[in-house]
């Protein structure tokens, strides 16, 4: 073997990449050729220099810049969506004047769907985790600018939000499970509890409001509202500071009835908002905070009617009202107060398959479009998606999520029992719901499940309770809530 041959193979020789016979031949030559040994030494010296090369510490500002860029991209995406809805609404107004609202509206809504998700409808219904990726990633950062972050320093906020891995981005089921648990670890649950589910939902049921970490490893839940009473629908404001809950109409003293708002730090006494139709048969349902943390959204249901209201959380002054369909959970106003989802009541089982319609109520004559078939819609915190239940009967219910702007749908989980108390995580990346074991018998219990973009659902072992009615997943860490 000549020097020319050997030198052509020195790089591979040094990397251990030659066949044994070639390697032996090169080694043999090297043993007797100082010139080739010197060439090999240059390779080795070059390697050593390369290993020492570029050992700088990058600027600490890179991380903040990455988060900032992600936040800006998401904000821009949200603005594009909002702009499009406004454009559709205004076009519909014009078209309505011309007497052609239906046709133009349909064209524009289809156009809107196409612009945001070119393959929207064709990938609907059973898209995998990857399909949900953009919204999942986006939400974490949209939350950055939201009211819940108001009390945090910018630096602290970035770290906290970055630590919330976008759930929808997780591709394999094992990692999904771990990530859901990670998220749950950060959460606190407020829920209505009753030891006797046969009475739950009745006017005289006793349902104290309890607070417990989602992944409690022991100990008892804290009773958040100390006096057991007849409560409904606890809801914590986006900044974690205020708790609103309904006090049932069956309370003997009418001075107690209405929606109470109190400081979650436990400083008494809070205040009461009187609700319309405050009669003995009225029930206050589905209390939610608007995204700005100023208004409350709630429904008042009587035997004869349902009305959805928006009221100032501090003064109780009514801002808007919408006549609804019985029962109350078949309409929902988005937290940004722009979109109203309704499921028109028709004769038949409560969870029968009925069209869910979304209407833009931010301006008169706003666009209206159908987003799915099902019941009991619940808005995501960012007002872009609805979770709802579908299924021919209560015995096999599918929890579905739809992006109301693109029409994309994800069937999250099918459960062979009734799903109840659906609530979104504060960052909008996961959904919590209960499945009741036993059907409202005194021995019945509620099991909490959590899901994001597909299977597996994860049963949360921490919360053990007899029966959970309404519940809410509190932004975490919730600075004002008392610790267990």
């Amino acid at each position: 073997m000549t020097c020319v041959h050997v030198r052509a193979q020195l790089a591979a020789y040094q990397e251990g990449g030659l066949r044994p016979s070639q390697r032996r031949a090169v080694a043999l030559h090297l043993a007797s050729c100082p010139a080739c040994q010197a060439e090999l030494a240059v390779y080795e010296e070059g390697d050593r220099a390369l290993r020492r090369f570029a050992a700088d510490t990058p600027s600490a500002a890179i991380y903040a810049s990455v988060l900032q860029r992600l936040g800006q991209e998401d904000a821009a995406r949200s603005q594009r969506k909002a702009h499009l809805v406004r454009a559709v609404s205004s076009w519909l107004n014009v078209a309505g004047t011309l007497g052609a609202a239906g046709v133009v509206g349909a064209v524009l809504v289809v156009l809107a769907q196409g612009l945001h998700a070119p393959a929207a409808m064709s990938t609907a219904a059973h898209s995998g985790p990857g399909g949900q990726s953009q919204s999942g990633a986006a939400l974490v950062h949209e939350q950055q600018a939201g009211p819940s972050a108001r009390n945090e320093t910018p630096a602290g906020r970035n770290v906290e939000l970055a630590a919330v891995f976008p759930l929808a981005s997780v591709g394999t089921s094992v990692r999904l499970t771990a990530t859901l648990l990670q998220l749950a670890e950060r959460g606190t649950l407020l829920y209505l509890h009753t030891s006797d589910p046969t009475e739950f939902g009745q006017d005289n049921s006793q349902a104290p409001i309890l607070q417990q970490p989602l992944l409690a490893t022991g100990g008892q839940p804290t009773m958040l509202v100390p006096t057991p009473g007849i409560y409904s629908s606890p809801a914590v404001s986006p900044d974690g500071r205020w708790l609103a809950y309904g006090v049932h109409s069956a309370v003997p003293h009418s001075a107690q009835r209405g929606i109470w708002v109190r400081d979650t730090a436990g400083r008494p006494p809070g205040w009461r908002i009187r609700v319309p139709h405050d009669g003995p048969s009225a029930q206050i349902k589905d209390i939610r905070w608007a995204a700005d943390g100023r208004d409350l959204i709630f429904s008042v249901q009587t035997h004869a009617s349902v009305t959805l209201y928006v009221a100032d959380a501090r003064t109780g002054a009514l801002q808007r009202q919408y006549p609804g369909w019985w029962p109350a959970d078949n309409q929902a106003l988005s937290p940004d107060l722009r979109l109203l989802a309704t499921v028109p009541y028709e004769a038949g089982p409560q969870d029968a398959e009925r069209p869910i319609t979304v209407r833009d109520v931010s301006s008169p004559g706003g666009a209206s479009w159908q987003v799915g078939i099902g019941a009991r819609p619940v808005w995501s915190p960012d007002s872009t998606r609805l979770a709802y239940l579908t299924g021919p009967a209560l015995s096999a219910v599918t929890l579905t999520v739809v992006d109301v702007y693109s029409g994309r749908r994800w069937a999250l989980s099918t459960v062979p029992r009734a799903i109840d108390a659906v609530c979104w995580s504060p960052d909008g990346t996961a959904i919590l719901y209960t499945v009741h074991e036993g059907d409202r018998s005194p021995a019945a219990t509620s099991q909490l499940w959590i899901t994001a973009a597909g299977r597996p659902n994860v049963a949360l072992p921490g919360v053990r309770t007899r029966w959970i009615g309404d519940m809410t997943w509190v932004p975490s860490p919730a600075p004002h809530l008392p610790r267990n």
Binding site: L10, A11, A12, Q14, E15, G17, V42, Y43, E45, G46, D47, A49, L50, R51, R52, F53, A54, A55, D56, T57, P58, S59, I62, Y63, S65, V66, R69, L70, P129, Q132, S133, Q134, G136, A137, V159, A162, A163, V164, F165, P166, A168, S169, V170, G171, T172, V174, R175, T177, A178, T179, L181, Q182, S413, W449, R455, P456, N457, V458, A459, P461
Partner: protein
């Protein structure tokens, strides 16, 4: 390790996965220095590190299996190659990768004072971007050939050929600079 139940009640053990923040803290220095080796300019390396992690965050949703750090190196490599391609197009780059025939040692007098870092930096510039990537990943960052295949999206044979050719070219350039310096 965390344990949990699936929908069917089956108990499963699950591996805790790193958060984005953890991925960033663990790999940002490595990625920055790799990109510094690729582009030879600290400011641009910093920008490309940002780009890499922004892309990584966006790409996570579609990842079926997260193989770190090869997956991250792949994004960084693509980012660097794109940047170098663009820089070549607009033709104001301070150095230009070339082949053996075109390569010439710097004209200026190094006066025997050229630091090792500068010699490595200049030698790297004699390589094509792909050769540079393979050499840095293998020698500086210690990736295996299989990991480089993942990072570069190339076959084993292609990686080996590119790596060996890169090593050879690096040796020629480094030797030339050494002679000049001495």
């Amino acid at each position: 390790m965390v344990s949990s139940h699936t929908l069917t009640g089956e108990r499963v053990a699950v591996q805790a996965i790193p958060t984005f923040e953890e991925i960033f803290s663990r790999y940002n220095t490595q990625i920055y220095n790799y990109l510094l080796g690729m582009v030879g300019n600290p400011e641009q390396a910093q920008d490309l590190t940002q780009d890499t992690f922004v892309k990584a965050y966006r790409a996570l949703p579609n990842v079926q299996e997260l193989i770190l750090p090869a997956w991250l190196y792949r994004i960084a490599t693509n980012t660097a190659l794109d940047a170098l391609r663009h820089r070549k197009l607009i033709a104001w780059l301070p150095f230009q990768p070339g082949d053996d025939d075109r390569y010439r040692a710097p004209e200026r007098d190094l006066g025997g004072e050229m630091a090792e870092t500068e010699m490595v930096r200049q030698s790297l510039l004699a390589l094509t971007p792909r050769q540079r990537a393979c050499l840095l990943l293998r020698t500086r960052d210690g990736l295996s050939i299989d990991e480089i295949c993942t990072a570069m999206k190339m076959s084993r044979d292609a990686v080996k050929a590119t790596l060996y050719r890169g090593k050879e070219r690096f040796r020629v350039a480094y030797r030339a600079l050494e002679c000049k310096a001495s």
